[in-house]
């Protein structure tokens, strides 16, 4: 149990660092969705299924989509995604 929790926490921390470090906006959005997913797993392990469900749906799902759509609208987004690796248009 504690090892599962530790693994999830470390994964979440790494993903959180990646959000700041990554140059491609789209990749950063994906990393932030991973943070939310890890957070939702932690909530689940701490026996808060209601919060876990909300975090998974809103954090990992909807806000990820919203951020990605906003990033596409930003004028800098195009340069950044072409500078870094190909953004991977789903």
């Amino acid at each position: 149990m504690i090892w599962i929790l530790l693994t999830v926490v470390i994964t979440t921390l790494i993903a959180g660092t990646l959000v700041v470090v990554l140059r491609s906006l789209l990749a950063a959005v994906a990393a932030s969705a991973v943070v939310s997913l890890g957070l939702s797993l932690i909530f689940m392990l701490l026996r808060a299924p209601d919060v876990a469900l909300a975090e998974a749906v809103v954090g990992a799902g909807l806000s990820g989509v919203m951020f990605a759509l906003v990033a596409r609208r930003l004028p800098i987004a195009d340069d950044e995604t072409t500078d870094a690796q190909d953004g991977g248009d789903a």
Partner: protein, 233 residues
Amino acid sequence: MSWRGRDMAALLLLIGLGVLLAAVLEPILFGAAPMLVGSQIQALGAEPTGAANLVTAVLLGYRGFDTLGELTILFAAATGAGMVLAQGNRGRHDVAPVGFVLQVGSSLIFPLLLLFGFYTILHGHITPGGGFQGGAILAAAYFVPLLGHAGHPLPSGLTTLLEGLAGITFIVVGLVAMMAGDTFLTPFGDHGTLGQLLSAGSLPLLSIAIGVKVGTELANVLAHLGGIEQERG
């Protein structure tokens, strides 16, 4: 400077609103630091509301008015986002070609997402979940066919209508409780058997209203953000 006058009017309106809010909130007591409400609610258990999921019982039963406030905030945010996004960038239509996997996958996953969303809303008083979570799932489901260019599942006129109806339903349920002599949004109705789908009185009604409202609002924001202009009506 006609702007000066408008600014002054806005400032006066804000001050007036602040005074009104202060007058309304002044007699309501704030809790002191060690809040004992939680342990009291836990000690009472599912008895007062008839909802097996205590989180939903708190959200819709004990704190129904706060939930109405949350809905209002979400409504204001969605309206603001719609107003900002509706103007500009309308002509830009960089439609990326949709691959086979996305096209088939979106039509495959859409009904499942719908089913799960409605399940989460309807079972909010029994299992984890409820209006907010289920509504967000419904909004995600709404966006999937848009991604796959499979067409618009709902015209924007219908989503606006549903959103308004859901908001009215929530308030009407609150008013019905007042007609019975209780305070606004007091849970009413037959509690039924604990853990059954048809139980917990008026709480599932509120849950459905929240689910539809959250779902349609978020779907509208997503559609606006995606730059997808829907056919009116």
